[in-house]
Symmetry: C2
Subunit: 427 residues, 2 copies
C-alpha cells in the first residue's frame, strides 16, 4: 500500500466524469481493498460547465482553470490527465512527473509520440508510477495484461481491432451490403464518427495504439508517423463479396508481428480475416486484441473499446494498482535495443484490380506477378454486371509487401486498369 492518493484531475468530460462517478460510488469497496483515493482538485477550461457543476455537487473538490493550482500543490500526489491533445496535456504530464507526482492518462497520442521522453523523465524520477491502461481499447485491460502475463513468454504477433467506429462501419458494410459513404454518414448521424472522420477512417487512431502495444510486446519504440497506415476509405462493398467467397471478412487491424528473432513489422491496414479466426467474429463497436506467443499459443481479449464507463474503469484500475503499490515498472516494458523495424514483411495478399473488361487481362496480370516474383494463388471473378468497371481479385502466395507493391505499380500503368490496385494482407 502506498498511502492515500490525493488526485488532481485534468479534464472532467466523458472519461473524467466517469472516473469521479466510479470513485464516488465504490468508495467503500475501494477502501476495503486498501485504496484511499480522493479527487481533491479538478482543472478544466470552463469551470462553470453545468454538467461539471452538477457532477461535483456535494463533493469537496476544488475546480480551477489554472494548471498550477494542481501542479504546484505539494499535497497532490497523483495527476490524472484526461484532457486529450499533445500540447497542454504534454505540459501537464511532464511537469507532474518532474514534481514527483504519479501520473495516469488515457492519452494515446501523447504516449505513442513521447514514450522515450516519458521513459527518460521516469528514470530521473524513480518514485513516480505511470498508468495508461485507458489509452488503448478503453475497457480491455490489454496494457496490464501485456505488462504482467507475458514476461516469461515470447510474442510473435499482436493484431487487433482497436477502433470501434470503423469496425461498426465495416460490420454494417458486410451485413447490409451498404456503401462506404452511406455507413459513414449513418455513423456521423449517430454520433459514432466525427464530422471530420479522418482520425478513425484513415487509421491514425489505430496507428497510435499499435505503437504503444508494439513497445510493450516487442520492446521497440516505433514513432507513429513512421508506421505504414492504410485506412478503410477505399474499401468497397465488392471487397466484402470477394472476402465472403474466401470464407472471410474485412477488419481494420493494427498489427505488430515478428519477422525474425530481432525484427518486427508494425502496420495498420484493412485485412482479410477468415471468419473462423476469433478476430473475424468481433462485430460492431467492440474491440479485440489477439496475441500469438510461444507459450500461450493464442490469447484473445475482447471488450468495449471506448465509452464513459469502460474507459473510466481502466483509469480506476490504474488508481487501484497505484493505491495498492502494484504498478508494474518500467511503464512501457523493457527496451530491446537490438530489435529492428522491418516493414517489408512477407504474407499472402488480396489484390483487387478495377479494369475495363477485355482480352488478355489474366495473362497480363500473370506476367506482372511473375516479374515481381509473385506466385498467384487464385483469381476470383464475381459475375460481371458492367464491362467497363470490372473488379477482379487475385490472391497471392507468400510474397513480400515490396513485391506486391511493385506488381501493383506495374498494373496501374496498364491502359485497361482504372486505378491503382488495392492490396490487403490476408490474416
Amino acid at each position: 500500500m502506498s498511502g492515500p492518493l490525493r488526485i488532481g484531475l485534468f479534464g472532467c468530460g466523458t472519461v473524467g466524469g466517469g472516473v469521479v462517478d466510479i470513485l464516488t460510488s465504490r468508495v467503500g469497496y475501494l477502501r476495503s481493498v486498501g485504496v484511499d483515493a480522493t479527487v481533491a482538485k479538478v482543472c478544466v477550461r470552463n469551470t462553470k460547465n453545468p454538467a461539471l457543476v452538477a457532477l461535483l455537487q456535494g463533493h469537496a473538490t476544488t475546480v480551477s482553470s489554472n494548471y498550477d493550482d494542481i501542479l504546484e500543490d505539494p499535497s497532490i500526489n497523483c495527476v490524472i490527465e484526461l484532457m486529450g491533445g499533445v500540447t497542454d496535456a504534454k505540459d501537464v504530464v511532464f511537469k507532474a512527473i518532474a514534481k514527483n507526482k504519479h501520473v495516469i492518462t488515457a492519452n494515446k497520442a501523447l504516449i505513442a509520440n513521447f514514450m522515450p521522453d516519458i521513459t527518460a523523465l521516469l528514470t530521473a524520477h524513480p518514485s513516480v508510477r505511470f498508468g495508461y491502461e485507458a489509452s488503448v481499447c478503453g475497457g480491455i485491460p490489454i496494457i496490464h495484461t501485456l505488462q504482467s502475463s507475458y514476461t516469461g513468454d515470447g510474442l510473435t504477433e499482436i493484431a487487433g481491432i482497436m477502433n470501434g467506429t470503423t469496425n461498426y462501419m465495416l460490420s454494417k458494410m458486410e451485413k447490409e451490403g451498404a456503401s462506404y459513404d452511406a455507413v459513414l454518414k449513418e455513423a456521423q448521424d449517430l454520433g459514432f464518427a466525427e464530422a471530420n472522420p479522418s482520425a478513425d477512417v484513415d487509421g491514425f487512431d489505430v496507428q497510435a495504439k499499435i505503437a504503444i502495444l508494439a513497445k510493450l510486446g516487442f520492446g521497440v519504440h516505433v514513432p507513429p508517423a513512421t508506421i505504414p497506415t492504410t485506412g478503410i476509405t477505399r474499401i468497397k462493398t465488392v471487397d466484402f463479396e470477394y472476402a465472403k467467397l474466401m470464407g472471410a471478412t474485412i477488419k481494420l487491424l493494427g498489427i505488430a508481428k515478428a519477422t525474425s528473432a530481432d525484427a518486427v513489422a508494425v502496420f495498420v491496414s484493412p485485412v482479410i480475416v477468415p471468419t473462423t479466426n476469433v478476430i473475424g467474429t468481433v462485430h460492431g463497436a467492440s474491440n479485440i486484441v489477439n496475441i500469438v506467443s510461444a507459450n500461450c499459443i493464442n490469447g484473445a481479449y475482447v471488450g468495449q473499446g471506448a465509452g464513459r464507463f469502460p474507459t473510466a474503469n481502466s483509469v480506476v484500475n490504474d488508481i487501484v494498482r497505484l493505491g495498492q503499490g502494484v504498478v508494474p515498472s518500467p511503464a512501457f516494458g523493457s527496451t530491446r535495443e537490438q530489435v529492428k523495424i522491418e516493414n517489408d514483411y512477407a504474407g499472402r495478399f488480396y489484390v483487387r484490380v478495377r479494369l475495363n473488361d477485355g482480352l488478355g487481362i489474366v495473362r497480363s496480370i500473370g506476367t506482372h506477378a511473375e516479374e515481381a516474383g509473385i506466385s498467384i494463388d487464385s483469381i476470383l471473378q464475381l459475375p460481371i454486371t458492367d464491362r467497363n468497371n470490372v473488379d477482379t481479385v487475385v490472391t497471392t502466395d507468400v510474397a513480400k509487401v515490396s513485391q506486391v507493391q511493385r506488381m501493383c505499380d506495374a498494373l496501374a500503368k496498364l491502359s485497361f486498369v482504372q486505378e491503382p490496385p488495392l492490396f490487403l494482407p490476408i490474416l
Copy 2:
C-alpha cells in the same frame, strides 16, 4: 522487488517440467525485469524418472522424494505445488504457508475446496503470497484479471467454457453430427479424455473452476460439492439440430450470476448459446471466460485452457509477480459476508421431451407448463422419423429453475413420455 526466489518445486510432470523449461530459457529476460528465480529443489515420487533426469541435466537442482527436504529448508522461500490431488498436495501447501514460504499452485480442486482454510492460514502468515493463476483455464490470465481489473466495477455474470475436453467433444458433435459415444471414444483415443472421463463429462472439473471464479467475482465461497452440476452425458445430436433451429449451439458452461444485489447463482450445465454470442464462437479445445459488469459491459478472455506451456506460463506469471513484489492480496479477493447463494435463478429454458407420438401431447405439455406457472415461448418439432421415439422441444419464457423442474417431474410421469425431460438454460 522482493529479492531472489529460491523455489522448491513439488511435482515436475507436464506443467512442472514446462516451468523449469521457461525459467531456464528466459533467465536473462527475467533478470532484466527484476526477477531472479531458481528452482533449487524438486520433489517427486520417482526421482529416477528418465524424462525428469533428462530435463534437469546440467541444472544444479536437487531431486528428492522427501517433502521435508524442501519444507524444512529455510533457504527455500517459495513452494510451487504441481502434483495435483487434495491429500499430499494439501499437506505441502498448508505446511509451506505455516513455514512462511510463498506458495504457487495450479491445483483447482485444492483451492476450490479449501479457500476458507487457506485464507485463515494466510491471515496468520501475512508475509506469505499465494498465486494460483494456472488453476483456472491454463493459459488465460483470468485470475489476475479478476483480481486487478474489476475492483472499481460491479460484476453481474461470469460464464465460461472452462474444459477443453468437453468443448472439443461438443464441437465435434455439432460439426459432424457425431454421437456422444463416438466423440468420447475418439477423444479417449487421442488422449484428450481420460479412460475414466467423469471429471470432464460430468462437469466436476468446471465445478471447481467456477467456485474459484465465483469467489473472486462475487466475494462468496461456494463449496464445490454444493454447486448444481449437470454434465454433457445426456446431450444428443438432436439437441444440436434443435439448437441450430434456434440460431444457437450447446456449450458446457460454468456460470456465476447475480440474481439480486446480494445473491448469486452458481451452477454448471450445458447451455444453449446463440452463435452471435462470443461464447458460441469458441470451438475445439479453447477456453473462454466472459464477464458482464456494470462499467465494462462485456469482456471476453479467450485462450488455451490447458497444455504444458500455456499452463506453465501462468505459473511463471505468478513467479514474476512474486519476484516483483506485486502479487495482489487478499489472494481470493475480499469476502462479502452478505452475499447469499440463490440457485433457484430465473431464465429462459430449453426442454427436450422424448415421447411416443400420439394425440393431445401439445395440450398435455401445455397443461403441465401452466400448472408450474410457466409460459411457453415456442414448441419446436423436427420432422418425425420414428413415431416411437419423438424428441419434442419446448422453450420457455423467463421462469425459475424450480418451476421448470416441477414441470419436468410432472411430464416424466406421463405414459407417453419415455425418460425425464432434459432441460438446459438458454444464455
